[in-house]
């Protein structure tokens, strides 16, 4: 195997949490609010079913090929040529997706804090840092996540706690004023975040305790779901239906914090700590790309391609969208279908093929 490091299932769960959640906390509440209105806090619950599904699919496929990632076993499942094309699709897809993530991070930082800094500096510096982590391998990513995730969780809880005097829970009523439909519609966009859980199919082969992979994957989905509900509720209780008007509601909320007339305008600190979440997210996708590429090309080591891929990622982040308005529009419209088809439909298809093959093989054996 190319990757010699090992992580525990718990570390994988911890790693996946910011991998899904880091960018969701920014723009998701307002995107959901457009469709779901006051029921925006319900949407993540519906959407999380996609996450549970993705973990299930990844785990089932992993059970069939316990030592291989999706790039490797797709060759076994659908034949050499189609499998290789599929692997390339995955690599390219994650390259594109990570470009989106990095751009989102860059636009957020530049738009809110470093207005005069060129976005390429912000993006480039982050990619360099991530490249160092990726070079360290999956072990280092797992450990970094273990250090950073508690900090991010404490930060989120602290924001909610410090905002509590301004929260008006009454805003939640009426629940399901227009039936289930708005909240279900609102669940479409967050479901593509949850579909990213298929990434664990790249991590499952490197677990020390494989049998717990499913359990911690599920717990991770559940934790993300809870956090999304929490962040959406906070936005709802604070801004009500006006959440739609803000691009980054949680960040605006952080501006509201005022403690003893001394701790004010904490958004910079919130941004600084949020960066560690973004770092884990970008690094995990970066790692998946690098590992997938190395496996696709059958390299003996993935480290030599870390820097070239990083360079490509910076370029992709510039290419994905001409400006931030266009990017937000894409995230709200075509991205969900793009992500869902690549991360749910294709793996489901693979699993389907695998089951059919298994049946045939059994029959063949029975006959023979």
């Amino acid at each position: 195997m190319i990757e010699k490091g090992k992580i525990s299932a718990f570390q994988m769960g911890v790693m996946m949490y910011p991998t899904i959640f880091a960018t969701a906390i920014l723009s998701l509440p307002s995107i959901i609010a457009v469709q779901a209105g006051r029921d925006m806090w319900l949407s993540p619950i519906w959407a999380s079913t996609i996450g549970f599904l993705a973990v299930c699919i990844a785990y089932q496929l992993h059970k069939l090929y316990p030592k291989e990632t999706i790039v490797e076993y797709s060759v076994h499942l659908v034949g050499r040529i189609v499998g290789k094309i599929m692997g390339l699709m995955f690599i390219f897809f994650y390259m594109h997706l990570n470009g989106f993530i990095i751009r989102e991070y860059g636009e957020f930082v530049v738009g809110n804090f470093f207005v005069k800094t060129p976005i390429i500096v912000v993006i480039g510096s982050m990619v360099i840092v991530c490249a160092f982590a990726v070079r360290g391998g999956v072990e280092v990513l797992g450990r970094c996540a273990q250090i950073f995730v508690p900090i991010v969780i404490i930060l989120i809880l602290l924001i909610v706690f410090l905002l509590s005097p301004d929260l008006k829970p009454i805003q939640i009523y009426p629940i399901m004023e227009h039936g289930v439909k708005p909240s279900l519609m609102g669940a479409v966009v967050p479901s593509d975040w949850f579909s990213e859980f298929i990434v664990i199919s790249f991590l499952l082969p490197y677990l020390t305790d494989r049998e717990k992979g499913m359990k911690w994957g599920m717990i991770s989905v559940f934790a993300v779901m809870l956090t999304m509900v929490l962040s959406n509720m906070t936005a709802l209780f604070l801004f009500g239906i006006n959440t739609v008007g803000f691009r980054y509601p949680v960040m605006v909320a952080a501006r509201y914090i005022s403690l003893a007339n001394f701790l004010e305008h904490l958004e910079s600190i919130v941004m600084a700590i949020w960066i560690v979440g973004a770092f884990v997210k970008i690094s995990v996708f970066y790692y998946v790309i690098v590992l997938g590429t190395a496996q696709w090309l059958k390299l003996t080591d993935y480290r030599p391609i870390v820097w070239p891929v990083g360079f490509l990622l910076v370029l992709f982040s510039v290419w994905v969208a001409p400006n931030v308005q266009e990017m937000t529009r894409v995230v709200g419209t075509s991205i969900p279908f793009y992500l869902l088809s690549m991360q749910v439909a294709v793996p489901t298809l693979l699993l389907f093929i695998a089951f059919i093959q298994k049946k045939f093989r059994k029959k063949g054996r029975a006959k023979g």
Binding site: F132, A133, E139, R143, C144, I147, S268, I275, V276
Partner: protein
């Protein structure tokens, strides 16, 4: 005379390939002593040519058998040599029939004696301060354990002082250091393996561990890494440290150095290996984690609540010493809105007349502070007072009123200074002092974002580090819940039932469970 030169060559030559270990076979191949005393004398004469501190004493045993006594001035106890060796042997009143062997058996009243066969052995014994007695027509010489040289007594360690705890520290003498450990751990399970390293210095190194607690693979690994060292000399344990650590390009120390026997003993009992080096009071402890570098021995001598509190204070000041100057620069340059208005006004007022941007100001002051500290260490004690006077002027009111730096910056530097002194182990403190500067540059370029990127880089680096196979950040990452009790808190001693987990699972429990004191428990006298 050829064998002499060969012997001498072997002495140097063999060590140039491999340090002279206790390997017996190797010794067997080396030239042995000659039967003829004159040949031996000539051999030693040529080896010790131009060594003015060598004493080669020619005398007659009982007035007839020729003999040689060789020792190095200042390394052997001359009084005892005269009293117990020379005086009894040189007596002429010995019975006529007694042969030399019998005289040697009966007359020398020294308990620690060793037979030496080869020239190399002779040289080694002499270098260690043991006088060697060579007798004519004898294949063997006798090394007498009469070494004695000037040594410093056991004193209180200078760099690691405690309020409560033992006051003794290691010294420069290996024998004293091993005895300090042995006095604390009486069990014969405490093993001490000896290795010699250094082509010329032949420095003795002792690897101490407790059999049954320390992982056998760990001991083997430590031994292998030390045996790989091939250099002219080992002057301090720092040489060993730099030659055996896992990542030589890291600013962080991967071995713990201490001059306190209680710290070394505690580490031994946790299954770690202690490396003692002759000639230095600083011993090395492997493997080391970041958490163990943040602990002070006093944590275990004080009440646990206070220790926990102090530990947290230490952790926060660890971050302060690394981050406060850069956070100040970042906030002042990029995020002024974070500062409360009144504070911002007073900061702005004090910075009004300062010609430098915050980054330059911070750099100036931090470098000055580092220079002052370094000067304080190097200067002779008589001039030391002058440094503190000048220092107070440079970092203080005078600097502020001269309009070079602002008063808040002076505060920041002072807090950083205090914070870096709070870290119990100097080696980790000095790493932080160094890392402060790159982070300051990052903060000056990208504000809090740069600061955060710097922190992430450091964390990535710490996550890749290992010390003898143990992850540097364990038990935080990878997380080991069982070991948190001695990292995030200092749990009461009666709860510290398990040893910290290093690599294997050897000997997990260190005490009987359920020892929480309780007067109702009663007992024999209850």
């Amino acid at each position: 005379m050829r064998f002499v030169k060969k012997a001498f060559k072997n002495l140097l030559g063999s060590s140039s390939h491999k340090p002279l270990n206790n390997s017996q076979q190797e010794a067997n191949q080396q030239p042995t002593l000659s039967m003829n005393l004159n040949e031996n004398l000539q051999a030693l004469d040529s080896i010790y040519a131009d060594c003015s501190d060598i004493v080669i004493h020619n005398f007659l045993i009982a007035g007839k058998t020729k003999a040689l006594l060789i020792y190095i001035e200042g390394l052997s106890n001359i009084d005892l040599i005269h009293q117990h060796v020379l005086a009894p042997l040189m007596q002429e009143s010995v019975a006529e029939d007694a042969n030399t062997n019998r005289i040697l058996q009966t007359k020398i009243s020294v308990s620690n004696r060793k037979n030496v066969v080869t020239v190399v052995d002779v040289i080694e014994q002499i270098s260690n301060g043991n006088p060697v007695l060579l007798v004519d027509q004898q294949r063997q010489g006798i090394a007498l354990g009469l070494a004695k040289w000037e040594k410093r007594g056991v004193e209180e360690p200078m760099a690691e002082s405690v309020i409560r705890g033992p006051r003794e520290g290691f010294t420069e003498t290996l024998g004293i250091n091993t005895s300090l450990l042995r006095r604390k751990i009486k069990s014969p399970a405490l093993k001490m393996k000896s290795i010699k390293v250094g082509r010329y210095t032949q420095t003795q190194i002792v690897i101490a561990y407790i059999e049954g607690i320390a992982e056998p693979t760990l001991i083997e690994e430590v031994e292998n890494r030390i045996q790989r060292i091939d250099m002219d000399g080992i002057l301090e344990s720092g040489y060993i440290e730099e030659m055996i650590e896992d990542n030589p390009l890291s600013p962080f120390p991967q071995l713990l150095t201490t001059e306190r026997p209680d710290v070394a003993t505690g580490s031994l009992l946790e299954g770690r290996v202690v490396i003692l080096v002759d000639g230095t009071p600083f011993v090395l402890i492997a493997p080391t984690t970041l958490a163990s570098l943040m602990h002070s021995p006093e944590d275990y001598y004080q009440r646990f609540m206070i220790s926990t509190l102090i530990r947290w204070l230490r952790y926060s000041f660890f971050l302060i010493s690394l981050l406060v100057p850069s956070a100040y620069v970042a906030i002042l340059t990029y995020h002024q809105e974070m500062i409360p208005t009144t504070l911002l006004l007073s900061v702005a007022k004090s910075r009004e007349e300062i010609p430098f941007p915050a980054l330059v100001e911070a750099f100036l002051m931090e470098i000055t502070f580092e220079a002052l500290r370094e000067a304080g260490v190097r200067l002779p004690k008589q001039v030391g007072a002058a440094v503190s006077i000048v220092g107070a002027l440079v970092i203080g009111q005078a600097a502020t009123s001269a309009g070079l730096v602002s008063a808040p910056m002076v505060m920041v530097v002072a807090i950083t200074g205090i914070a870096s002194f709070m870290i119990p182990h100097y080696t980790i403190g000095i790493a932080l002092r160094m890392l402060r500067f790159p982070i300051m540059i990052l903060a000056g370029m990208l504000g809090l974002l740069g600061l955060m990127l710097g922190i992430i880089m450091i964390v990535i680096h710490l996550c890749t580090l290992r010390s003898f196979g143990v992850p540097y950040l364990s038990p935080l990452a990878p997380m080991k819940g069982r070991d948190m009790k001695d990292v995030l808190f200092r749990a009461p001693l009666w709860m510290l039932n398990t040893r910290p987990h290093l690599t294997g699972e050897e000997n997990k429990y260190r005490q009987a469970p359920g020892q929480k004191p309780d007067p109702t428990k009663g007992g024999e006298h209850g």
